[in-house]
Structures are given as structure tokens and as C-alpha cells.
Subunit: 122 residues, 2 copies
DNA sequence: TTCCTGTTATATGGAAAGTGTAACAGTGCA
DNA sequence: TGCACTGTTACACTTTCCATATAACAGGAA
């Protein structure tokens, strides 16, 4: 899986990295049980510091996307707490739906955009 | 409209404030042409600094939700660029949908959550 | 043993967030 | 003409976060 950091972005490197790995899991480019590169290798590949990669991995562990193994490194292992996930989803949707409605997007347009996004996965 | 800051949150005060005002507009608690409190008054009300409120107002102006008037203060004035708004919506959905899919929420469950969120507005 | 894991500790530079005080330039009102 | 109220700008200051750097430690594998 290809990872790339936007050095111009105002998003922190470790946030960009975390999001891309989550995206990779959702797109099935990364599969359950698969190992991610070691913190040192990945850091060198994408041109950032080891600790920054480590921070991304630690957060992914805390959020239940990987398990960290001293020998195998970071292994994809999604802990699916559906109730918690739905509550998070609802909170995040609330904010961005509010923005869309202000900008006069209709509920129907918002639904269609969601369908379009959903169809990009798989 | 009631504004409240969560001092424990890791979200910046000016981001919390911006989001709540956008929420107010979307919920029709704040209407086109209505004035927001002055930066000094609001700052005192919610217990934060004037400059922090000013920062929120400036961002709301930049994002096209208010116009800043030297005499009337911040006035609700939504500049609805639908094309831009839809592109923003799509980008934001992409990230949170990926998270939901990883946590084994189905596309149908995601759609239902969106419908539930949409029904909370108005 | 040697090498590669993640993990931890400590230090540093830079940017952002938040506060504080102060002043300035318009505008409306008495 | 003053006064009070807007947003706006300019500094200074503290604290936190981001990212880097160097170094060391512990555990598993070859």
C-alpha cells in the first residue's frame, strides 16, 4: 500500500498517516492479520521521523485498528465496537451535515453524495 | 442562542465556537441578517478571551457564514457556493465513512444514521 | 551473538492556542 | 462635539502540540 505525506497540509503528519491507513483498511488494501512496515522503515520511506510514525501506530492501536507486536510490528486487527462506532459516526455527521445544510445543499443532495462516497469503497 | 464551551475538550475554543454557530444557523436558531453578540460581550459571557471570539468570527467570515460590519458586528450572511460545499462534504464523508466501514458498520446502517441525523435538523 | 522489533526517556526548535493590555478607526447617538 | 460602541491591529507572554534528534532498553528471530 502506498503512503504519501502532504508536507504543505496543515494536518499533522501522524494524523495524515493514521487516516491513510484507515482508508487502506476500508478499501481492503490492508487486510486483517497483515503487517505494516516497521516504524523505522516507514519513517525512512516517507521522509519523516520514526517517532511520528510511532505516534500514528499508537493511536491506531488505541482506536482499535491494529495490534502492536514486538516481533511482527503493527498488525491489522480491527476491534469493531459497533455501538461506539455508530455514536462516533453520528457525532461527526452532525457537524458536517450542518455545514452542508447552511450552504443550501438539500437532504436529498446530501444522501446522494453519501451514496457516491459509499460506492467508491470496494 | 446559547453557546457553551467545553474547557476539557481537546478541540480549540475558536473551533468549538465556530461549530456551534454553524449548528445554530443550520437549526434556524440564527437567521439571515441577525447579529451575533459583539466579540467583547460574547467573550465575557462564555468566559474566554476577546481575541479567541474574534478568531472564530474571522473564520466564519472567511468560510462564508457571516459578514463583519463595523457598526452591527457579525451578521449572519451565508454565501452558498453549492459546488464547493458539495466537494467539501464529499471529502469529509470519505474519511468518516472509511472509519465506519472498518468498524463493520454496513452501508445501510450508515445511510440510516445519516437519515437520523438529518431528521434532527429543522 | 547479532539483528530487528516496539518502547521509553530526554532534549530541542518551531508553531499554534489562548490570554492580556493597549491603542486605532469608523459608526451611531445624545 | 463628545461619548459609547463596533471590529481591527499590534505586542508580549505562557502553555501546549508537532516534529525532530539521539540514545538506550527489552524481547523475539536467525
Amino acid at each position: 500500500m502506498l503512503v504519501r505525506i502532504d508536507f504543505e497540509s496543515d494536518e499533522a503528519f501522524y494524523i495524515q498517516l493514521r487516516n491513510q491507513i484507515i482508508m487502506g483498511i476500508a478499501m481492503s488494501e490492508l487486510r486483517e492479520g497483515e503487517s505494516l512496515p516497521s516504524v523505522r522503515d516507514l519513517a525512512e520511506d516517507i521522509g519523516i521521523n520514526m517517532h511520528t510514525v510511532n505516534k500514528a501506530y499508537s493511536i491506531l492501536k488505541q482506536e482499535g485498528y491494529v495490534r502492536l507486536d514486538r516481533r511482527r510490528g503493527a498488525v491489522i486487527a480491527v476491534d469493531a465496537n459497533k455501538l461506539l462506532a455508530e455514536e462516533e459516526l453520528r457525532m461527526q455527521l452532525k457537524t458536517i451535515v450542518a455545514r452542508a445544510l447552511c450552504k443550501e445543499l438539500s437532504p436529498e443532495e446530501i444522501r446522494l453524495t453519501l451514496d457516491s462516497v459509499l460506492s467508491d469503497f470496494r
